[in-house]
Symmetry: C2
Subunit: 405 residues, 2 copies
Amino acid sequence: MNIAIAQSGGPTCAINASLVGAYAEALKYPQIDAIFGSINGIEGIINNDLIDLKNFIRSNDDMELLKQTPSTVLGSCRYKLPDEEDDTSIYEKIMNCFIKHDIKAFFYIGGNDSMDTVLKLSAYAELHKYDVRIIGIPKTIDNDLCATDHTPGFGSAAKYVATTVQEIVCDSAVYSIESVTIIEIMGRHAGWLTASTCVIRANGVNAPHLIYLPEGNFSVDRFVEDVKREQAKHKALVIAVSEGIELDDDNYRSGVTDNFGHKYLSGIGKQLENIVRQKFGCKVRSIELNVMQRCSSHICSKTDIDEACAIGAAGVRAALAGETGKTMVFKRISDIPYIIDIVSVPASETANKEKFFPKEWITPDGTNVNEHALRYFLPLIQGENVLRMRNGMPEHFKIKEEVLK
Amino acid sequence: MNIAIAQSGGPTCAINASLVGAYAEALKYPQIDAIFGSINGIEGIINNDLIDLKNFIRSNDDMELLKQTPSTVLGSCRYKLPDEEDDTSIYEKIMNCFIKHDIKAFFYIGGNDSMDTVLKLSAYAELHKYDVRIIGIPKTIDNDLCATDHTPGFGSAAKYVATTVQEIVCDSAVYSIESVTIIEIMGRHAGWLTASTCVIRANGVNAPHLIYLPEGNFSVDRFVEDVKREQAKHKALVIAVSEGIELDDDNYRSGVTDNFGHKYLSGIGKQLENIVRQKFGCKVRSIELNVMQRCSSHICSKTDIDEACAIGAAGVRAALAGETGKTMVFKRISDIPYIIDIVSVPASETANKEKFFPKEWITPDGTNVNEHALRYFLPLIQGENVLRMRNGMPEHFKIKEEVLK
């Protein structure tokens, strides 16, 4: 029998580690022959675009290199399967690909949208008696997947963000004038990554002074009051804000306009920058951590990478034990010492659902997070991998461009 | 006798290393008693705001920690001394501070503006027979200081930028659709830091596909042609552009407008993003590396940090040898093996001047840089310091907030 692995959704620093984890585990079982990589997520299965991973990942060295390579080495997609009732042809194409290549297990590394694919494919296969097991391996820097303590990729993103925010705090403090620095952080509708900036407190850095999450009730008026109050205490004010926040007052929503009259709404950071400039007239800067949050593998969390490997391997074992339609998840046994367990849950518990930052971890005034959050986040950013460097830069694993097209 | 050290201008990852270098060297000489730190650059001398560094930097451990701490631990300023003819009172204030504290040598770590201070102060002291030596220690991520092969701080910025651009290249390549990623890089009017992105070629990464420097003649029309031509070759196009570039066509200069009608010109990255969206309609993203370029000490260049220490120490030796009105500079002896020498030049050679990226290192079509650039940049980003970590984040040296005000 053969198996296939695919990667989907937005890149992270850990998604290749999950690929390595699944691949290395599969190598241990003599009943598994070929291990296919599907190019660009499920699209590779639909288009019969598979590569034999053994031709590309040939050694432990290759695996180590792949683990320190950000993004998805097999490419990605944002493809949503139609409902079975609407279109069975795609499902049949996929099942035919599985049959043609004797693929008895398919592993989909992705976020909550990808778990929808796991759910639908496994249901279809079971209903129509196709002999293939479908397992979801979670990944997302947003940490918004349900039923799991946290998601692979999140710890590395949080470590990058914490390290960078700590450095920005140093940078912002140099001049003797008042300043406001606004840092816009990813996470879609969930505030996890923004909230994780609280970890720098563990190192005695009293910042960010204000933290705004989509889970709080953001108000422009309150924001102005918050800045006024905190600026009296901190010469160099540092604010962390989630990209998912929307202003409650249309008068303050600002945008980029080009000279053709096209207008694009700015990010929330730029909008808050404009409000501060309006209201306070002080030095103000907004910073978008942008894609660096999801691809800065040079400062990845060893805990995250190790866990991403482990959950990939656990997925292979679950499939071999006969499971299908499952998402592999972390259960946290304890914070200190940090102990997690990997188990499987029905993919329906994770597909198309979002897990939000707990309201009870937000301070009553809605401008910061409490000790529960700190205890939750800290274990996830621990440890550093010793990077293989080349010419003064991290070395990355490459699959030839022709293969990826 | 005592000495004083101050830091000025924009923060870098290496400016504290130069402080450590000067401090550690000064400790070796029994004739030097107190080593003062001036808070917020020359403003600390003017305002009599000095701290005795021996009370703060107490051990080798402290020095190691300070070397891995970004930004200016003593604060900074953007203060330009008036011409002597216009106002001697400031000069007298400064000289009085030197006399009051028995300061016989003053070390100013900064860029070309700070070298203006070195030049003016040393001329004034000589003319009026004040017994104090004034030495400039260079620093700037812009690498635009004259008379030196390169500046401390630049190598670490270049290493961060190269590492990050390499990761962004991975990130941008994941989807099967065409995309353009525009990375805006600092450097003021000089293209050094943007040009340094060419180093990723040494690792076999064929990117950035287009590099635009202020030293080239940027034209919107040519840019559109360039993108069209390169997009035919590269599905995921990556473009590096210097913040200092101005569009030649006013019709394309776009800005951020708030609903109060206030308009701010966007950065060049955002402006080019709008042009690409207009002209090509494809997926396009602009990324500002922002202050992370100058403060990401977690991925600093060991070569840079070591050199920053060494040039600080050399400054102290120069002052003790009787020199004044000098800037310490690097002379490159050879690229391979990389050998540099540290010498002093008259501060007039560096003050208020800018060194631009050599036109002969730009490719004839103006969209990239050649092998000379690669050979120049590569040695500067070599080596990594083993960081002292705490709670999963780099540990930083702190001087109490009350001291820095």
